[in-house]
Each structure stands twice: as C-alpha cells, then as structure tokens.
C-alpha cells in the first residue's frame, strides 16, 4: 500500500515546513495540508468519520480561527532577525537544549518501536467503520463524557469572550 507512504511523507514534510516558516500565515496553510494528509491516513485506517471530522473541524474551523487571529494581529513576521543572523549552534541556550530534547525524544520513541522482536503486527479483519456504531457507542457508553464536553465548550466560549474583551478601565 503506497498510499500510506505518500500521505505520511506529505504530513511529515508539511509539519516540518510549519516549523521552518517565519511567516505564521504560511505555517497555518501548511498545517492545513498536513491535516489533509492525516485525514487520508484515517481513511486508510477504516475511520471515515474521523477523517471527515478532521477536515471539517480541524482544517475548517480551528485553522480558520488561527488564520483569523494571525490576520487580526497584523504582526506576521517573527521578530528574530538578530537570532537568524547568528549560527544555529550559537542560539540561546534553552532553544538548543529544547531542540536536543526533541531529537532525543524522537530517537527514544523510534528505538522503542523498532526493537520489537516478534512478527509484524498487521491489522486484523475486524474494524469499526460505520458511523452508526460510533454514534451508538458515543451516546450510550460515553454519554456522560459527551455531556461534560458540552459544558467544557460552554466554559471555553465564555472564557474566550472574557479574555478577548477590551478592558473598559483602559479608556477612562
């Protein structure tokens, strides 16, 4: 199945470019491409509901929120001109330390995943792909979590409005 490698390569390359861009607008647009590739991977995993939700909610709603804020703040370029001029190895200490930690995390995860000695664990035949089954599980077994999620959304909505509101004392 070559689709896996195509979608995986698109996701990894787009994510790397998200990190490498200095203009946040390009970062957001590249992240949408990465999410599209991930949605293709979900289709390969027999999860069409998650794939469609990924496109509609993530690429459609959350990324548009990001794009809206990037354009609203009107401060596209990162203020790191003095950082970009110096050599990557002479950047500030925490930055180098964090990058080294991320690389070591990747090495550790890959080591842990590839040292398995058994047969490759291929996927079985059984898979849950119908939205009907998902909905039944969601509204019976996970009904409480579903209702709590609605409260969480309400709290986030109120919090976002309160946080982004202008302070009325600032104008007096």
């Amino acid at each position: 199945m070559t689709f896996f490698y195509v979608f995986g390569a698109v996701a990894v390359i787009a994510s790397l470019l998200v990190i490498a861009q200095r203009n946040p607008i390009y970062s957001v647009l590249l992240l949408i491409a990465s999410f599209g590739a991930l949605s293709g991977l979900y289709v390969l995993l027999d999860a069409p509901f998650v794939a469609v939700t990924q496109i509609i909610v993530y690429a459609g709603a959350i990324m548009v929120l990001f794009l809206f804020v990037v354009m609203l703040l009107n401060a596209p370029h990162e203020e790191t001109e003095h950082d970009e001029k110096i050599h990557p190895l002479r950047r500030p200490g925490p930055m180098r330390f964090g990058a080294a930690l991320a690389v070591s995390l990747l090495v550790e995860l890959l080591w842990a995943l590839t040292r398995g000695n058994g047969e490759p664990n291929a996927f079985g035949e059984a898979s849950v792909s119908s939205v009907r089954t998902l909905g039944r599980v969601l509204f019976t077994e996970y009904a409480f979590a579903f209702e709590v999620t609605s409260v969480l959304i309400l709290v986030a909505m109120v919090g976002a409005v309160v946080l982004a509101k202008r302070d009325p004392r600032a104008h007096t």
């Binding site: 995986g8 946040p24 998650v50 804020v69 930055m95 995943l113 664990n121 986030a156 919090g159």
Partner: protein, 100 residues
C-alpha cells in the same frame, strides 16, 4: 500493507516535530500550531490502536480530543490577543513579569 508499527513510527515523528517546534520557535501562534501537530500525532496513534484492536473506542477518544483542541485553540488565541494588546509583541521572551 502498513502495520501498526508503521503508524506508530509516523505518529512519533510528528510528535517530535511538534515538540521541536514548541522549543525552537519564538512566536506564540507558531507554538500553538506546534501543539496542534502534537495533538494530531496522538490522534493518529489512537485511531491506529483502535483499528488494531477492532474497537470503536479509539475513534471516540479522537472525537473528544478534537473537542478539547477546539476549546484550547479558542482560549489560547484569546490569551494571545490579550498579550498582544498588552505588549505589542508575540515573542514569548517579552513576557517576563512573572520571571524571578
């Protein structure tokens, strides 16, 4: 056919990219985008495990993770807007009021 391990390796690579982005970038919006990359890497491993076990639980958890990610993005961006109004900057190094 790609196996479960292949999907987990891809998820690990994406998660490491997100971690590196949080540490390396000096822009609050890019840092939030890196957190989204990490959440998606975990989502991918959830769906792969759910497919491997043949249950619906993995996809249900991804549904909840997406909801929490939407709430996180809304509140996080509201905080970013508030910070930008305060200091006219998106560089996290300029917010040092709580630094000892």
């Amino acid at each position: 056919m790609p196996t479960l391990n292949d999907y987990l390796v891809l998820s690990a690579i994406l998660f490491a990219i997100g971690t590196a982005g949080v540490f390396v970038r000096r822009n609050l919006i890019t840092i939030l985008l890196s957190i989204e990359i990490m959440l998606n890497a975990v989502n991918l491993s959830f769906v792969a495990f759910g497919r491997s076990l043949g249950t619906a639980d993995g996809q249900i958890i991804v549904f909840f993770v997406m909801t929490v990610a939407a709430a996180e993005a809304a509140v996080g961006l509201a905080i970013v807007i508030g910070l930008f109004r305060h200091r006219e900057s998106l560089n996290p190094d300029t917010f040092t009021s709580l630094k000892w």
